[in-house]
Symmetry: C2
Subunit: 133 residues, 2 copies
Amino acid sequence: MMIGELSRRTGVPTRLLRYYEEQDLLHPDRAVNGYRDYGETDVRDVQQIRGLLDSGLTTEMIRAILPYLSGPDEIHLPPQCLTPQTAALLRGEIDRIQARIDCLARNRDRLRAYLTVVQPVVQPVVQTKGEDL
Amino acid sequence: MMIGELSRRTGVPTRLLRYYEEQDLLHPDRAVNGYRDYGETDVRDVQQIRGLLDSGLTTEMIRAILPYLSGPDEIHLPPQCLTPQTAALLRGEIDRIQARIDCLARNRDRLRAYLTVVQPVVQPVVQTKGEDL
DNA sequence: CCTTGCCTTCACACTGATGTGAGGGTTTCA
DNA sequence: TGAAACCCTCACATCAGTGTGAAGGCAAGG
């Protein structure tokens, strides 16, 4: 499919799809006329990229792990592709993701705690006539 | 305390402390000579700010909620200071953080699954004399 | 007094992720 | 043939968060 369709199907502007290619996250084929030619799997990949970017990962990290996230269930890479170095790299990325999760969870908890302290109970509705906000 | 000490105690460069002030997140007093004069609570505030920034909140959001977060345990502001809008905003942010956590956890699990499939068992320890990692 | 090490403001610059538009080719359809 | 709707590259702009350095004031100590 061409870039416009991928954009429509993912909701991601074409500008970003080109940017992700520039960042080596997507590798569409090129048609004879030079148009990018995306495959079906790119839809999922793009959503994956968006989610990870939004979660605070850099394109660099995503570039490192994306190949191993591609298949939903099926692993297509033969085991010997996983060199010790790659395995170590993956473990490192997992750790970093975990650290990020911890950080986010911590701050989520802080915000939640605050919210419950300050608003212990959701006010049913206004019972006085004044609007004091 | 002066900016240098706060910087040392929080690990945040002075440049950023000034930036946060410019963004209306910190409000140090000024000594007669013009030096910024921070209080003890600012240490916690700065860490708070760092965490929230790192969690993807903008300075604008933080500015909106920080006044309510200042006390470590004690909330001294009356609850009506938190407008319903701000509360909603806060809940929205919490939800978004949660979504990020979910996304990251999902992908972390995938990477782990990939590793365990491809490397079903962690080699106990080196039993041969080579160090190959 | 002079150096050293704080502090001040100002300001330019970079990065990553994005928006936006110019200038131009291609395909399709009327 | 011409307009519409695609596509291309290039490039400048924005935004938040930072780095960095210049130019200078203040304080303490030899």
